[in-house]
């Protein structure tokens, strides 16, 4: 059940806040952990979803919002705010399952509570040869009306040549 994930995630963030003195370090840890999860989650995703290779960033956005988020978090964010060049978009989450029952205490205003998600997306896309930048620009935990994640395409990652073939 998603409550289990939400509760466990909350316990994790609480523990990290105890272990690290400042919010920035916690944010980094969450991002790193998310990355570790993402690079493995992508295999599970590809196996379960049978989606083929995405031809462009718009297809990627659709798959992320309509298939991946639905599959793992049970929600379907909407996709908005495309940049003119088509290399940036926003995911809008009306509600974020990670923050059910969560309130940020006053002394953690720089904490990006759900930062794990950014790492997951970044790690997963790296495994399919896409370098992206992912960050929260709005957060209901901080009083915003919605949660908004901004995704920016950086570049295609070329496969490295195996050693000895250069």
């Amino acid at each position: 059940s998603s409550e289990l994930f939400t509760l466990t995630y909350g316990a994790l963030v609480t523990q990290l806040c105890k272990d690290y003195e400042n919010d920035e370090d916690v944010n980094k840890q969450l991002d790193r952990m998310g990355y570790n999860i993402g690079v493995r989650l992508i295999e599970d995703f590809l196996a379960r979803s049978n989606v083929g290779r995405c031809h462009d960033f718009r297809e990627t956005a659709d798959v992320i919002a309509k298939v991946a988020f639905k599959m793992y978090l049970g929600i379907t964010p909407s996709i908005t705010n495309w940049s003119p060049a088509g290399d940036e978009f926003s995911l809008i989450l009306e509600n974020n399952p990670l923050v059910d029952f969560v309130e940020l205490p006053d002394n953690h205003s720089s904490l990006i509570y759900s930062n794990l998600l950014c790492g997951v997306l970044r790690g997963a896309l790296e495994m399919v040869q896409m370098a992206v930048d992912v960050k929260f620009v709005q957060d209901t935990l901080k009083g915003d009306g919605v949660t908004e994640i901004r995704m920016r395409f950086i570049k295609r990652i070329e496969d490295n040549l195996p050693a000895g073939e250069e």
Binding site: L4, F5, T8, A11, M33, L41, D44, M71, L73
Partner: protein, 152 residues
């Protein structure tokens, strides 16, 4: 929803986090890490039990409570039930899972058996926390040879 994979991956990161944060290395670090994991599981177990409908938690007998753990709690966390339940009818219960999801990913060999307790601590805490929310004080230990044990 395929969230069990996501949860298992999160659990792996949680285990790693329990051993970070300058908690100390060596035997003391090991013990501290296990304590942290058990504590986290405990809080999550309490939280889960608190969110169940009141009617679901009324058990006539102790055994019914244990069956709840084997079926409903295990089902909620691992999408399966435990494989076997034994008791000495004096307050000790042994829940057996032959395919414990947090361990199935590990390659089996002597060196990894030492790591196994790290992957059981959270679950032990989870059981203890759920029981605590049901008003039952318990001690939960686990051993690998697929025999998590629960004693009251």
């Amino acid at each position: 929803m395929a969230d069990e994979t996501l949860f298992q991956l999160l659990h792996t990161e949680v285990v790693a986090a329990a051993y970070g944060g300058g908690r100390g290395s060596g035997d003391e670090g090991q013990r501290n890490g296990l304590t942290v994991l058990e504590g986290m599981g405990f809080r999550v177990g309490q939280g889960l039990a608190e969110r169940l409908p009141r009617g679901a938690l009324v058990f006539k007998e102790e055994l019914d409570t244990i069956k709840f753990l084997c079926r409903d709690l295990w089902g909620a966390v691992f999408r399966k039930q435990t494989d076997n339940l034994r008791t000495n009818h004096q307050g000790t219960y042994i829940l057996q899972d032959n395919n414990f999801p947090f361990l199935t990913q590990m390659a089996w060999g002597q060196q990894y058996l030492e790591e196994a307790p790290k992957f059981l601590a959270f679950t032990c805490g989870l059981l203890r926390g759920t029981l605590s929310a049901l008003g039952i004080e318990s001690s939960v230990t686990a051993s690998v040879a697929s025999l998590p044990a629960w004693t009251k």
